[in-house]
Structure formats: C-alpha cells, structure tokens
Amino acid sequence: MIRGSLDTEPVETAAMHRPFLIAPPPPQRPKYLRVFLTFARNSLVRAMTFRTNFLLECITSLSWVGMNLSFYLLVFQYTKSVGGWGQYQYFVFLATLQLINSIVEALFMPNAEEFSELVRTGELDFALLKPIDTQFLISLAKIDWSSLANFLFAIGLLAFSLFKLNVFPGFAAVLLYPLYIVSGVVILYSLTITLAASTVWLGRNQSIYDFWFYITNFSRYPMEIYRGPIGGALGWLFTFLIPVLVVVNVPARLLAKPLEANQWPLALFALAATVLSFAGSRWLFLRALNGYRSASS
C-alpha cells in the first residue's frame, strides 16, 4: 500500500498520501528539536509513573557496571598495567566506555529493540505515514532515563581517576573530549541503525541483536591488546572496516595519555570514520525502507 511512494525520502513524500487534496499545502518542516523534547518529556513522565521500578532499573544497570569495575580491581591486584595502561588510566578508559554506552542505551537501545517488532507486526506503516523523518522517529521515540545513573557514575569515576592520576585536562582536552564522546555515540548508533536495517531484509532478529553485543564487545578494550596474527587482524578489522575500536580509545587516550604524540592520525581518522559510518548507515536504512513490504493487506 505504501510501496512505490517511498522511492525517495519519506518526509518529502508524506504529502503524496493525501490524494484527496487538490492542492497539497506546502510541506511544513517539522521542528525536530521540539519533537525530541516532547519524546524526552513523555519518557520521563512514564518513568516517574513507576518510581520504584525506575529506581530498581537504576540499581540494576549500576550493579553491572560495579561488577565490571570489581573485575578490573581484581585484575590490577595481580598486575601493574594492561597493555601499557596503568590502573587509573584504565579506569579513565572504563569511565569513557560507560559514558558512551550510557548515552547509547538511553537514546537508542529501547528504540532499536522495538524496531524489529515494528517490522514484524507491520506497525512500521504508521511511522512511515508521519510527516517527519522516519529514521529520526524510530531512533528517538523512547528515552531510557534510568541510564542517567550510569552516566553520573561514569562522570564520578572519571573525575576520581583523573584526580588519582594527578591529571588536570588542558584546554584542548576539555574541548575535544566531549566531541569524541559524541563521535563515539554516533559510530555506535550507525551500527545500531545498520543492524536495524538488516532486520527489514532478514525478518527474524534475535541473533542480530546478539551480534550487536558481540561486535561492541571489541570496543571495550584498549587497542594495545590487539597484537599477534589474530589480534592484529581483528584490531585492523575493528578499526578500519567496522570502526568500533576508535569509539572509546580515542577520547580515553586524550585524557589518560595526553602526552602521546602519535595519537593525532588516529583522532583525525575517528572523525572521518564517524561521518562515513553515519552516512553509510543512513543510506542503508533508506534502502531498507524501500524494500519494506507491510505485514498485512
């Protein structure tokens, strides 16, 4: 029923769904920021309706982080460094990882989980009919506020580790760190959208979300541990083909190892990778929407 009208961007074709209007009104550009703020407010209202549940969710996600941290606390009882990262340098790395993950989990994960369900049931039709960019709508409709707990915890851990390292970030670091956090979030988001697009083609999706987890698992370690024939090949693959390794490594290095001179090529590459993966995933997603056939009628 919708196929055919989606050969271009759904936003621009929204007016075509009203054949009964002789002269369609000029398409109004949706106010994305206001829509996003409304999504955020609605999600907050929903979260605050079940406050105990919200609190439990915060505790749940915090305990995962705590467990991961205890593992590394244990590891550093047996070694002074991992791949050239001392204990508090490594904790800067973990804090950065948590910071990026908490943003991705807050903004995109609840929606990504729902997307495959929308495709399966055919409810994606309703998203396509709305006069707003479909990717925007399905990426941000729900926001998980309980990830805020992890976010705050990560900031605390970061501040504590920097204090222990006796590092006061310079002007450039203060400016660049948030930029690279955003860039990391965008790379992970692009991966999510790519996998979401593949659900349109493949239907069943359970292994695909496992896949997301297993790929991002490679971003959880410093680049230095990828050595040897297999490690080196994996390091190359996850830096240049699926650039998840730069997600945490670049910003964490900025703060934890500011004196290393050879990080600039990688930092520049990270920006290029961000732009490319976002553009690529957007292209794939629109292609996938083109191939979408509704579930019924």
């Binding site: 439990l56 749940t60 305990s63 995962w64 467990m67 205890s70 593992f71 244990l74 590891v75 009882q77 047996y78 070694t79 002074k80 460094s81 991992v82 791949g83 050239g84 069943r204 359970q206 292994s207 496992d210 896949f211 297993y214 698992n217 490679f218 959880r220 370690y221 230095e224 541990i225 990828y226 050595r227 040897g228 297999i230 490690g231 994996l234």
Partner: protein
C-alpha cells in the same frame, strides 16, 4: 459392545512404568523437534559466543606480558614463568575455554522467568490439570534443548578447541580425573536446573521476582567463576587463614562453572576432589528437595481467577 473389546483396555495402563517412559519419550521428542526449527539461528549463536573469548585471550596475554616485563625490569633474572594465582598463561586460557563447556551444561536461560511468568499469568494451570509433573516436564524440555545444542555446537566447539589445543599445557587428564569431570559436569546441569527452578518457584509467594532473579544472575555470573578463576580471590583474607576464595567455594554457584573446569585442569585433586564432588551432590539433592517442596507448598496456596 462389551468394555473388554474397547481399544482402551489394550493400551498400556496409564499409570504403569512403561506408560511413564512412553510419556517422557514423547515429551522429549516433541521438544527436540521444536528446538530443531531454529537450527540456523542456533549455530550462528554458538559461534558468536566464542567472540568474547578471543578478547579475553588478548586481555590476559597483555596482562601476562606486562608481568613478564615487570619482572625482567626488576633485575631478578629468573627462568620461572609468570604465574597468576597459580595459573600459567596457557592455564588461564584453557580455564576460560573449559568454563564455556561447563556453562553450556549449567546455564538455564529463561527457566526461572518462565516458571514465574506461568504462575503469574495462570498458564501453570495446564500442568496442574494434566497428569504430568511440571518439574519433570521442564527438565525433559531442557534436556532436549541441551541435546540439540550439543548436536549443533559440537562442530564449532571442536574447531575452537583444536585450534587452542596448545593452551592445554598438561594435555588430557588421567581417566579417573576425566570421570570425575564428567560426573561434575552432569551434576552441574542438574544443579543449574534445580537452582533456577527453585528461584522461579518463589513466584508463588511474590508476583514480581525479576529483581530477585537479577541478583541471582549477577551472583552466578561473578561468583561461579566464569569471569575469572576463583583462585584469584585467595589473595584476600577474611579472618585468619580463611580467604574470600574459600567463602565463594562454599557456595553452590561455584559448581556452575569453576569446579568442573578446575577439575579438568587438575587444579583440584585427591581428597579435595572427592570432597568437592560429595558437596556438589549434597547441594544438588538439597535443591531437588527445595524445588519439590516449594512446588508442593506453592500449588497449595496458588489460586487462579477468571477464565
């Protein structure tokens, strides 16, 4: 028509032992077929489960190298290879690979939540009105699940273990140790099942047990030894010579990953091995009893509304 010619009387008596075996066989076959529907998904899932092992290998290789460098830099020339908590580098990797096997036996994804949900939404009635024991039915369906899993997973497991055979420094264990390993593996499957089922039975008393289940999952993840060998905790003393490692090894969750793996690698021998197996059997019997009595008591207080 007299009742003696009725086909029913020629059938096996519904309460005889043969009938019971036949029922179980049917249940097992149904579950097997159900499982094989998603075999492609299964195979992919199994292969991907090894991806985190690769990063674990790389991580521990970096840690061991850092320690070797540190001891070389300290000037103490020693031929002794670096050890962490009594494990050589190869031992560490072999340990992680072995926990993959033990977890393949002891993990019961979704069992507790399935039981709790069927209590909450009332679908548990289907077990209560049929002459089928619910715990037995679920156990058989898990056996079927695991059988299919091993069937599909043998190939990826064999490939990975063949590639990693160099990490098993002492090769195959002697036959007796191997037998003990198999016994503890079989018990870890049953223990995993009855532990999870018992947690699910709590649903008879509390409607929502997801946070409880989460605590259990967290504990079994961290303390079963699948994240690290529990011997690493022996560095920390609780009181006197009692270490945190001893405390964790007194819990039943260590049998879900650590114990069988450590037995295979020859870390637990002689009296400690016998004692460990006996303890595992003890925990298993305890949880069988706890699960059964929780079910009996739970059903007595269970009430369903609506239709």
């Amino acid at each position: 028509m007299s009742s003696t010619t009725s086909p029913l009387t020629h059938a096996v008596r519904p309460d005889g032992p043969l009938a019971r075996v036949r029922t179980w066989w049917t249940i097992l076959r149904i579950c097997l077929e159900e499982r094989l529907v998603y075999r492609g998904d299964f195979m992919l899932g199994t292969l991907m489960r090894f991806l985190p092992v690769i990063t674990q290998i790389l991580l521990w290789s970096a840690i061991f190298d850092a320690n070797a460098e540190a001891s070389a830099a300290s000037g103490v020339a020693s031929d002794k290879p670096v050890m962490i908590a009594g494990y050589l580098y190869g031992d560490f990797i072999a340990y992680y690979l072995m926990t993959m096997i033990t977890r393949a036996f002891s993990s019961m994804p979704g069992l507790a939540s399935l039981i709790a949900r069927s209590i909450r939404d009332g679908t548990i009635k289907k077990y209560l009105i049929q002459p089928v024991d619910m715990t037995g039915f679920l156990l058989l369906s898990r056996v079927a699940h695991k059988l299919v899993y091993y069937l599909v997973a043998t190939i990826p497991f064999a490939v990975i273990f063949y590639l990693c055979r160099g990490y098993f420094l002492s090769g195959w264990p002697d036959p007796l140790t191997f037998l003990a390993f198999l016994a503890s593996l079989a018990m870890s499957f049953l223990l995993g099942f009855f532990l999870d089922a018992t947690i699910g039975m709590i649903g008879f008393w509390f409607l929502e047990i997801s946070s409880l289940m989460f605590i259990y999952m967290l504990m079994s993840f961290f303390l079963s030894g699948q994240m690290f060998p529990l011997d690493m905790l022996d560095k920390f003393h609780l009181v006197g010579s009692v270490t945190w490692g001893d405390v964790v090894r007194a819990t039943p969750v260590q049998y879900l990953a650590y114990f069988p793996a450590a037995v295979f690698l020859g870390k637990i021998q002689d009296t400690r091995l016998a004692w460990g197996l006996a303890m595992q059997l003890g925990w298993l019997l305890f949880f069988v009893w706890l699960c059964r009595s929780a079910f009996r008591r739970g059903v007595r207080r269970y009430s369903a509304f609506g239709g």
